[in-house]
């Protein structure tokens, strides 16, 4: 306690020194005067009294010195003195300081920005209580080679897990939808989620205002209630607490607002703005895969035990509900399920910027070497005058610390700007992006990084300073610099070449992957096509019939617009997700004992295949008449045909939804397969093709079709595709008008071109590619500067020697070749090391690449020769100067 106080006082003692000094002088003078008077009283002469008093005090100067040391922190004052000195020296060489600070600032800034993203997205726990025990529920069907990734479940399975899983401390299910919000203000489409009331308990979150759903609100038939997001509450209701208890219209249904979530709550996705209670009952639980699940591991349980138990519970359930047969549980940590997709990319980016930092440190270390050699005399003089080794080390470290801290500050500023840019312009599918911002951890990381960098490049010249007591007489005729010094520079230079090569190879591999990805056939024609989605308010369009009619009116309205060549609709557009899945039975049994994979079901209208650009491989398409008459027909895709009808022609055969035999609603009707179409990408490019089944929208699902009798997706929400003769964007206004003509209350969502949907699918790869390319370019530029600097220095140091050589008859060209050879040899060794590193480290990149080997010889060879070329040019410029040396001038300069 007392020592802490004393320490604080001493830190305080660093300030206000002049006054304290004056006080001490006063005090000591008073002391002396009093002592002198006493001595005189004791019979001394005035002179003797003064002498004795001064003697007993032990010297005013020494006392003052001892007092000062006690007053504040002497080591700290030494350090500040060194820092001040370093600052003065650096200010005298602004070019050196500027180059060093800028180089470091760029590299540190890149590290700080990527680290910010890595930290906030990957490392920081999700903002839920004890979030490490949260699981995302996921399933696989190993018998059809789907090991995992079916992240949907049924109501039946939800109840099974909620009631019986003992390894789980709560299960919640939710959906990701959107709905139309109206009542007070304009109608708008907002992202929504239906969630079981258990969600708040599982995630351990509380509403900021009001309450979350009660258990009975999750029962079918309970009065509709809604919880708003903080964003929606602020945006639409001006943070009015009176919103609780009020009625809003969701899809036209009056719904009571019961709560507002805190601003940090972003589940399942950040843009979710309203939550409604998902309603079902155990008795009428659906067997459709419409729900996503999240659960909390009970204390003592592990993912492995939970997986075993859940798989057993699924097997129990599958006895009465065959469409869940063969399924295994593959739960994974919730955080991993949210960010796992980008984890590899982010780590790779972090590695790449760390490499850039190493290159930058090598560059700055080189600068320091040049300086320390230029300052050898100064150092020697200091040593001769008695500067201890420790003082010299401190002095040099002060310089590098100053530079690296300045670099750190510049880096923070760069990171601040970069992070803002990433949040604003980065790929929107980067998870947790709203949580990304600079914080104390990042600032701490940056400072530690700059200190490490400072020590790293500050220590290299120090290694050379330490054993130099003899350097005073080394300043005679220095013809060639000593070997050891060159050795250090060459190691740095070779290292830079190696690191830069690794980055250039990575960038090359990413570029090749991106190229390959762009040539993947998505299964549709992306040019000149506008897409948007239309959601019908349930209150006005309460039946499938009504929905089909209004969709047809919209299709007709748009088809008659000028510049529109075709228009059609589907319950789910390519590359926008899985939407609706169900199992399938074929009339003629296929006796190979294999369970069949899941299928994605689509309701379509208006010559969908032709409009989107899919090819009809066999049979025929679905016509307007089929839709209007509600023909019991389907068109299947190639993937479905291959798995359900191996070696057969599906056209003419009959299929139906695989519904449990004991269903109270009887068996679904048989549907006749009339055609086979080409595959189309469902969620991502370059994924193995999933089976699709297309049906006329008039026989799919609708608001009046009970969930238990559903055979296809709900047609209340349809995605439209409009083919145009001109720019797709030019018809947007006309299309909006046509829709409003049919019903002004219908809102359009996600208006974008088909090309934009396709671009987004390769966006993450593009993002990674661009960032790695930036890292590689920075490393390359720094590397070139490094090589150039080293070689220039070598030439300067050897000017005299070169002069002698030229005077003795050496060819200027031969001299230039000698310099290039010297630099080239180092570059070749660096390239060899870089190639080896990239080869051995190639595993890191595998998961980011597409269609190209991580050891692609073309990329390796291309990058190596590019780097060699650049290195030779960087050597050649100084070499040309060497060749131009005038022997007379060079020798006279001695």
């Amino acid at each position: 306690m007392a020592s802490l106080r004393a320490w604080t006082a001493r830190v305080g003692g660093l300030f206000g020194r002049p006054q304290a000094d004056r006080d001490l002088v006063d005090e000591l003078n008073g002391h002396l005067d009093a002592h002198v008077e006493d001595n005189i009283r004791a019979g001394m002469t005035r002179g003797e009294a003064r002498r004795q008093a001064a003697l007993r005090l032990g010297g005013v100067d020494m006392t003052t010195e001892a007092y000062r040391e006690q007053r504040s922190l002497p080591w700290f004052e030494n350090v500040t003195r060194d820092l001040r000195h370093a600052l003065r020296t650096l200010r005298r060489s602004p070019a050196f300081a500027g180059a060093a600070v800028l180089t470091l600032g760029l590299a540190i800034g890149a590290n700080a920005s990527i680290f910010t993203v890595v930290y906030r997205v990957l490392l920081k726990p999700l903002p839920y209580g004890d979030s490490s025990r949260l699981l995302a529920l996921d399933y696989g069907v190993p018998s059809v080679n789907i090991t995992s990734g079916i992240n949907f479940m049924t109501w039946q399975l939800y109840y099974q897990l909620a009631d019986r899983a003992r390894t789980l401390d709560g299960v919640a299910a939710y959906t990701r939808d959107e709905l139309t919000l109206s009542g007070s203000g304009t109608a708008e489409r907002i992202a929504s989620s239906q969630a079981t009331p258990s969600l708040a308990k599982v995630l351990r979150v509380q509403p900021a205002l009001g309450r979350w759903f009660a258990e009975q609100e999750g029962e079918t038939g309970a009065a509709p209630t809604a919880v708003l997001s903080h964003g929606l509450w602020a945006r639409r209701y001006a943070l009015d607490p009176g919103i609780i208890g009020q009625s809003i219209r969701l899809n036209g249904v009056p719904t009571q607002v019961i709560g507002v979530m805190p601003a940090t709550f972003a589940f399942p996705v950040p843009r979710t703005e309203v939550w409604v209670a998902a309603q079902s009952t155990r008795a009428s639980a659906s067997f459709l895969f419409t729900l996503q699940g999240v659960a909390r591991l009970r204390d003592g349980a592990t993912i492995a035990t939970a997986r075993t138990e859940m798989t057993g519970l699924i097997a129990d359930l599958a006895r009465s509900s065959p469409n869940q047969r063969g399924m295994v549980a593959t739960p994974l940590p919730l955080q991993e399920s949210i960010v796992g997709r980008v984890a590899d990319t982010l780590w790779m980016l972090l590695v790449s910027v760390v490499l850039v930092l190493l290159v930058a440190c090598a560059n700055v270390a080189n600068l320091f070497l040049v300086r320390s050699e230029a300052r050898q005399r100064e150092v020697a003089v200091r040593q001769a005058l008695g500067a201890g080794k420790q003082a010299l080390v401190r002095y040099f470290l002060a310089e590098s610390a100053l530079l690296s801290l300045a670099g750190g500050i510049v880096g923070l500023a760069i990171a601040w700007a970069a992070v803002h840019a990433v949040v604003a312009y980065g790929p929107p599918n980067l998870p947790r992006i709203p949580e990304v911002r600079l914080d104390g951890v990042v600032v701490g990381f940056t400072l530690i990084l700059s200190v490490l960098a400072g020590v790293a490049f500050g220590a290299i010249p120090l290694l050379r300073v330490a054993p130099l007591p003899t350097s005073l007489h080394e300043n005679g005729r220095g013809n060639t610099a000593s070997r050891g010094r060159f050795h250090a520079r060459h190691v740095l230079m070779g290292g830079q070449v190696a690191l830069a090569l690794v980055l250039v190879i990575s960038a090359g591999l990413m570029f090749r992957s991106f190229q390959k990805m762009r040539t993947v056939n998505p299964g549709f024609n992306p040019t000149s096509a506008l897409t948007f989605r239309v959601g019908l308010p349930n209150s006005e369009y309460a039946s499938r019939r009504a929905a089909v009619m209004v969709h047809h009116s919209i299709l007709d309205g748009i088809a008659s617009l000028p510049g529109v060549t075709a228009v059609s609709a589907s319950t789910c557009l390519p590359l926008t997700g899985t939407c609706f899945g169900n199992g399938l039975q074929t009339e003629r049994r296929i006796e190979d004992g294999k369970p069949r994979p899941f299928l994605w079901w689509r309701g379509v209208a208006g010559n969908y295949f032709e409009t989107v650009g899919m090819r009809i491989l066999r049979g025929r398409s679905i016509s307007r008449g089929d839709v209007e008459r509600g023909e019991r027909i389907v068109v299947v895709d190639e993937a479905l045909a291959n798995s359900y009808f191996p070696g057969q022609d599906p056209v003419g055969q009959r299929v139906r939804a695989s519904i449990p035999p004991n269903s109270r609603f009887g068996m679904p009707e048989w549907l006749l397969v009339v055609g086979v179409v080409s595959n189309v990408a469902t969620t991502a490019l370059a994924e193995p093709p999933a089976g699709h089944l297309y049906m006329p929208m008039s026989i799919a699902g609708g608001p009046d079709i009970p969930t238990q009798a559903l055979v296809g997706p709900d047609v209340t929400m349809m995605g439209y595709v409009v083919r145009t003769t001109t720019q797709p964007s030019s018809v947007v206004t006309a299309v909006r008008g046509a829709v409003a003509n049919v019903d002004p209350n219908i809102a359009l969502a996600d208006v974008q071109t088909l090309q934009a949907i396709l671009d987004r699918a390769s966006e993450q790869m593009a993002f990674t590619m661009v960032l790695i390319a930036i890292s590689a370019s920075v490393a390359l530029i720094l590397g070139v500067i490094g090589i150039y600097g080293v070689m220039s220095y070598v030439v300067t140091q050897r000017t005299a020697e070169i002069g002698v050589r030229l005077a003795l008859g050496a060819e200027p060209r031969g001299v230039a070749a000698m310099i290039v050879r010297q630099g080239g040899a180092v570059a070749v060794i660096g390239i060899a090391v870089g190639l080896m590193t990239a080869f051995l480290g190639s595993r890191v990149m595998v998961s980011l690449l597409y269609g190209v080997s991580a050891r692609d010889p073309l990329v390796f060879a291309g990058a190596a020769s590019a780097l060699l070329g650049v290195a030779l040019v960087a050597c050649w410029l100084p070499a040309r100067r060497a060749a131009a040396v005038d022997p007379l001038v060079a020798l006279r300069a001695e």
Binding site: A9, E27, G30, A34, R56, G58, Y67, Q70
Partner: protein, 112 residues
């Protein structure tokens, strides 16, 4: 027996004890008093006194204020704080304990 320098560490206790018995004092006064109390056996190097006073002040055991001395001079007076009083008691106790322990070692042939 010649005059002894003040042992390290004991000077602080002497200063505190002096201030406890004498009340507020200036530096010179404290030094003289310590010499007197020791029967002039201790030789206080006055120079060491001031850093010691500063240290005690930094630790919060004493506080100082400028005032006027007996002979009408400006002088800095030191005074015990409450923490200082406690510290005197604590150090006195420690000292006595240490002394008692040492005494056992030094006592000739005490029954063990």
């Amino acid at each position: 027996m010649g005059k002894t320098d003040v042992w390290q560490g004991t000077l602080a206790l002497m200063i505190l004890k002096t201030l406890e018995t004498m009340g507020p004092q200036h530096g010179y006064g404290i030094a003289r008093r310590i010499e007197q109390t020791s029967g002039h056996l201790l030789l206080v190097n006055y120079g060491t006194l001031y850093p010691a006073l500063l240290k005690l002040e930094q630790e919060g055991y004493i506080k100082s204020a400028w005032g006027v001395s007996d002979n009408n001079r400006r002088a800095k007076f030191y005074q015990l704080t409450r923490a200082g009083k406690k510290q005197v008691a604590r150090e006195t106790r420690d000292w006595e304990q240490a002394q008692a322990i040492l005494a056992r070692f030094l006592a000739p042939d005490e029954a063990s």
